[in-house]
Symmetry: none
Subunit: 257 residues, 2 copies
DNA sequence: AATTGAAGTGCACGATTGTGCACGTTATGG
DNA sequence: CCATAACGTGCACAATCGTGCACTTCAATT
């Protein structure tokens, strides 16, 4: 019928990329029997929408947080520090916190108030190390089989441990924030985060600008379940308004003073 | 289909460096099947971005900042490395290991055989971090409330997790080794270590010279329960003989060649 | 039915990127 | 001090890219 329609072709390519498959311009051109120019235009459009990464010879899927923690430490360090500093202000004395894995939460450790009788639980090896270095924090390690991509434990053992805790405040790392709420790219990761949200009285999400408006496959929490969303100053007023309207209880903008 | 893409290669290299792994230009060239020139160009680009440090033969990761454990590693570093290197020789492929907290066991991580399908369990935050950096090791984190002196978890939760495991080989840190066996200065620490010994088919103790002949209050294991004791070359023949006589199955002397 | 405009396509052109090789230079270890 | 290995540079070549342009298609309008 019309299996060679341009839209179908683009959707097919987009689906593969969403499925973490790298694509080659030459191969796609042969497969859909169009010139490489057409394919290149498709890929350029996809990349402009942030749905893939353009590279020489084709395009790569957005590998969301696949890069190990340390890799992401360098990029956007300042932004993360601003977010972390702002988020830490909300923490009160004596609280029982959970810090999810992620470079932004790692940055948060050093901004937590000093000698505030805080207890920090985490499933991230790096965050645990950072907390341990601060003698004024109590540390609870969530164990299990460690996932090398996440840099911490997100398996059934970890979920089981989470289920038995009651946090005053949980800081969740999200791969994407949209009107649908927070989402992650990996199934197990999302499952773990859902358990954390369920065990926390308040859920806080720190989102660097690149996460806003993105979408990811696996749902973590609706916007209504997020008690505080901390974003950077680069957020447009439109975005803020639509988040407000969608039910986030508090949107905090870091670095606007 | 396009797994050998230049961009993927560079990302892979960058990820390793971000993971604190040094890389060799020659090895990478062979691994990705390109000329060393291409690799050198990659490394030069990475270094220009400040993501690694260029050295003769390859590139080194950027040291994040003051290494927390490097301080402790400083004292007696050479001796610990000798013990660790010797102890690692005994490890066979596919084994399930436990590494108790302690700087000597931390040193052991980097000497474990590469790509030997090893699984490492540990209760130490620093050791977990070190294991995580080596992507050829599986990591199991033993969770619980972390003890800031020990740098890991030794509470009831941790003991419970240990009880359910069966290690091929456990590396125990001991505060003291005498004819009575191994002992520790802290009660909880000793309790935890006893659980580990009970769950291990073989128990290995790495003892720096200052631990030999010392006594400590809380019993961990008799000499008969220790399957291998690794000591440094500074041990007198008398000491060795008395240990032998007391029932240690194997006393290994590191650094005598 | 004819007109119009938007979207998609292929092609030609010069620019850019990645690669390997050859050359001379520099570091490292005995 | 010397041998070797690794290095940087310049160069040639191929693949790929971006852009401008002409052409088709198709649906909506006149």
């Amino acid at each position: 019928m019309m299996n060679d329609h341009p839209t179908i072709r683009r959707d097919t390519i987009a689906a593969r990329l969403a499925n973490q498959q790298p694509v080659s311009a030459t191969a796609l051109a042969a497969e859909f029997d169009v010139s490489e120019d057409a394919i290149r235009r498709d890929l350029r459009a996809l990349a402009a929408e942030g749905r893939c990464r353009r590279v020489y010879g084709g395009a790569l899927p957005i590998l969301p947080d696949a890069a190990p923690l340390a890799a992401r430490l360098g990029e956007g360090r300042e932004e993360k520090h601003r977010l972390a500093r702002a988020a830490a202000l909300a923490v009160g004395p004596g609280e029982f916190l959970f810090l999810d894995s992620g470079s932004t939460n790692l940055a948060l450790v050093e901004f937590l108030p000093e000698d505030a009788d805080l207890t920090v639980a985490t499933n991230s090896v790096d965050i645990a190390a950072a907390v341990l270095r601060r003698q004024d924090l109590r540390l609870i390690v969530v164990g299990g089989v460690a996932d090398s991509l996440v840099g911490g434990c997100i398996d059934a053992v970890a979920v089981q441990a989470i289920v038995q805790m009651r946090f005053d405040r949980a800081f969740i790392g999200a791969c994407a924030i949209s009107e649908d709420g927070a989402a992650a790219d990996h199934f197990e990761d999302a499952t773990f985060k859902r358990a954390v949200v369920a065990s926390a009285r308040r859920t806080v999400v720190l989102a660097t600008d690149d996460k806003l408006g993105r979408r990811a496959v696996h749902h973590i929490a609706s916007l209504r379940q997020i008690d505080m969303l901390v974003v950077g100053p680069g957020v447009s007023d439109d975005q803020r308004a639509s988040l407000d309207a969608a039910g986030v209880r508090a949107v905090m903008v870091a670095g606007r003073d």
